[in-house]
Symmetry: C2
Subunit: 524 residues, 2 copies
């Protein structure tokens, strides 16, 4: 079979590497037929050269033109949805319905359309005019953006179609996507729709480029190349930390979403009031996507007592009854299994599950573990472990003080949830003690809600304190703010009116853009 | 003489280190009488502990309370101005009038008052409400901020009174100031006014802390301590790069302003039209503060021809005629002198000056060098050298292509200026070729203006591409945007109304705050 081509400078061309790889169907463990290149430096170099050229043109385009491309791409994805979904189902074993067709694909086109709308509207550029002094500033494109997509969302976080991609393009930058090697064919089909949309809307040739796979060394070289503007990464902490150092040593902004245990605190009033309901919500959230979500709850914290014991038993029953979904890969299953073993070695007890499941496909038993608050306080690092799969750990603290101590020891997470009694104020006192502690550990604080839904809302924060991400001031989901990660601040001081970018002139043609003029926000 | 005390946890206390240092009067070279401690780790540790405690309280204060402190501090500085100015004059040899009294001190109190106003007004927090989904987000304090002040602005960039200080406090964070050891007494007097203002306005004890000096190793340990929220640094590239790596390896946001050559391009039409005027402006800008400004023009680019030669001679005459001001230190003079020698070794020719001046005080001859475009293209790194003193290098390119090549090779700078013919469009063609190149190299692009005035305007960008700073998306001057460097993004998802911070509730008491509500900016 011919090796697939990579997308460089607007055309599909043969990789300059002769190394190849193939994906698998994780539901069966079978190797899929298509052969893909494992790129080496010459492919990266070609992509960087084309991206630099594209960046020079993209900088001159207005938001309307960038928005037209993103909108056309969203439409193309919808037209080609059947083929794309089929490829993703084969490569990820994620359910076609509802996950791929009804949830992730519409989420992806919605993100592209929100980014399109934000590019057209223009307010994201945070135009600030000081008319008296004739000093003007706005965000402008940062240059070629490298996007490393993760394994778990073949569309919505794919390097060539996901949130980082949409944000980078909408901010006026070319993207070099490093597809995830677990779903190369899905990425190929998406990239082809992007290529066609870019061509149809007159984007420069290197606007969207894609390679499938890269060894470690070339990845580090790629993120530190002088031609790079910024990097977006979603993936493991181990890979992320290496890229972080390489990029930062080269002075390149890198935005990483690396790992998160997403604590969920179930207060006693809530458990007494609606324990069975909480058990269902919790089990649903933990098993969503087989637990392979960046917001999957890996650490559940409760106070000891009968309602907690009942809830644990109820969750265990659901875990035992619920069919196991395939995990994304053999290595993912191994990582999960090693994590479950490590948690037990650190003092956690198995409530149910615990083992990989033999047979075709990469399955692991739905696994529930429990431990005490004292044990977490004794081994805080070992017991805060993201297993990235269908397992979770319930911590039973002996009292509010111990619960506070557990929260105090938590690492930074994307999310932190607190469930409390809906009426009567039974949990108010303990809530007000732990909320300030949890608030500082998380990007998004939830009440009475599991963390696994990440709405694409301007108010969303899919970010959080290190090591969940690399910068606590930014989000990777939420248009338009996510776009500012891929922007530089450009100031014009005393520059003649006719030489200013349109968006900074006294009179602006786009009547939708909000601008801060002498201290007030004014539209149009 | 008793060793000065450091400001820790709201009180002046003895350093736990027995190492000391003294400052000098750079106009005479005499050692000044006061003895200051060179702190070691125990001082840092005490400051971090107090700052962590203060951060917990500061987070609960509203903008009105933070603003009241900043306003009180500004007033206190004005009341104590005579003593502060006298101390600064002794330690820096900067002219009392106009520099210290009429320019830098009012600039400093203006910054504090702008930060106060921004904290009170609240719009900087970028509140975003998605009412339908009940998802709400805003910026919140990042935690203890370490501010390293530079040697060249004893008030306006001082760690305990300057722009980073004002921005960090206004964003709700405690500051640990690392004063610059060239002006410890000035810093002590400022810190005392800050302490009194903090006490009078009910700030927690560790809100403002200050140490005078620190060895390298403890500085690196300080910026990577888990209790730190973020770091602001203004200083040399060598020190900045070390701190950058230490902070980033620990996952701490660090904002550095490190070095900049601030290119000024004088186009032929402008030189033909008003060469003498440009020579005066250029000389004034280069010699302002003896060239010890981060925005001092270190690289002047022209096209060859008679107007350029006349301009060079005119600048040389001013340089020869203008009295030499003292530099800030012996090491600064040595750095400048070594820089002038290195530029000559890289092919630059001396037009005037070139040597340190014997006698009392640290003076160096006003120094003008010249070279060709070809030489810069041959040695781009060696000829882009920030001398940080009263010297500059004029590059004479043989034609527009060579000038473009020079711009193409420039490192990132804070500023880039282009002077062009004021009428007739003589320079329009070359302007449109070089502007896009220069734009990508600079944070602030100027027309017909020297870079050495940095207005404290919301539209200012005192930032730029690496290695001028560590992140091209932020500015260290310009309220309120500079404050966002010291903020984290906090999202509340499904959180009950009564548990939300006031600024995120449906109804807001502060009628001045602009908030983005379901996509529109609404005030109050």
């Amino acid at each position: 079979m011919e090796t697939a081509r990579i997308l460089i400078g607007g055309t599909w061309r043969a990789s300059q590497s002769d190394k190849t790889f193939q994906a698998e169907n994780p539901a069966t463990g079978e190797t899929l037929p298509s052969v893909f290149p494992l790129s080496t430096w010459p492919d990266c170099d070609a992509a960087l050269t084309a991206a630099s050229q594209a960046a020079n043109t993209l900088r001159t385009l207005n938001g309307e033109q960038l928005g037209a491309f993103l909108e056309a791409y969203a439409r193309n994805i919808e037209s080609a949805a059947d083929a794309i979904i089929q490829a993703a189902a084969e490569e990820t074993a994620l359910p076609v319905v509802p996950r791929l067709r009804d949830v992730e694909l519409p989420r992806t086109t919605d993100q592209l359309r929100q980014a399109s709308a934000a590019a057209r509207e223009g307010s994201w550029r945070r135009v600030t005019l000081d008319l008296k002094r004739n000093i003007r500033s706005c965000f402008a494109p940062i240059g070629p953006v490298i996007v490393f997509g993760p394994n778990n969302f073949p569309f919505a976080f794919n390097g060539v179609s996901g949130g980082d991609f949409a944000a980078a393009i909408a901010a006026g930058n070319p993207v070099i996507a490093k597809a995830h090697p677990l779903h190369p064919n899905t990425s190929r089909l998406l990239a082809e729709e992007a290529r066609k949309a870019a061509e149809a809307t007159g984007m420069p040739a290197g606007t969207v480029q894609m390679i499938y796979h890269l060894n470690n060394e070339d990845g580090l070289r790629l993120v530190s190349d002088p031609r790079v503007g910024a990097i977006g990464f979603t993936g493991s902490r181990a890979a992320g930390m290496q890229l972080k150092r390489a990029a930062e040593d080269a002075g390149k902004p890198i935005y990483l979403e690396m790992s998160s245990i997403n604590p969920v605190i179930l207060l006693p009033g809530a458990l007494a009031e609606r324990g069975d309901e909480l058990a269902r919500e919790l089990a649903d959230s933990c098993l969503a996507g087989s637990g392979q979500f960046c917001t999957s709850p890996n650490l559940i914290v409760t106070l000891e007592g009968a309602p907690t014991e009942r809830m644990i038993q109820a969750v265990a029953k659901i875990f035992n009854d619920r069919p196991m979904q395939p995990l994304l890969s053999a290595s993912g299953r191994e990582h999960l299994h090693q994590g479950v073993i490590a948690l037990q070695q650190a003092g956690a007890e198995l409530v149910c599950g615990g083992n990989a499941v033999e047979g075709s496909g990469y399955r692991h038993a739905n696994t529930l573990l429990r431990t005490t608050g004292a044990q977490v306080i004794a081994s805080p690092t070992d017991l805060q472990r993201e297993t990235f799969g269908n397992s979770t750990l319930i911590v039973v603290a002996k009292d509010a003080e111990e619960l506070e101590d557990v929260v105090h020891l938590m690492e930074g997470s994307l999310t932190g949830s607190i469930y409390s009694a809906s009426s009567g104020g039974a949990d108010d006192a303990i809530y007000s003690r732990i909320e300030p502690l949890l608030r500082e550990k998380t990007g998004r604080l939830l009440n009475d809600k599991m963390p696994t839904g990440v709405a694409v809302s301007p108010a969303m924060n899919h970010g959080g304190p290190y090591p969940a991400t690399s910068h606590p001031g930014f989000t990777s989901v939420g248009i338009p703010y996510a776009m500012t990660r891929f922007a530089v601040l450009h100031c014009y001081d005393g520059v003649r009116q006719e030489r200013l970018p349109d968006i900074l002139k006294d009179a602006i043609s786009n009547q939708h853009t909000w601008r801060s003029i002498d201290g007030a926000w004014i539209q149009g």
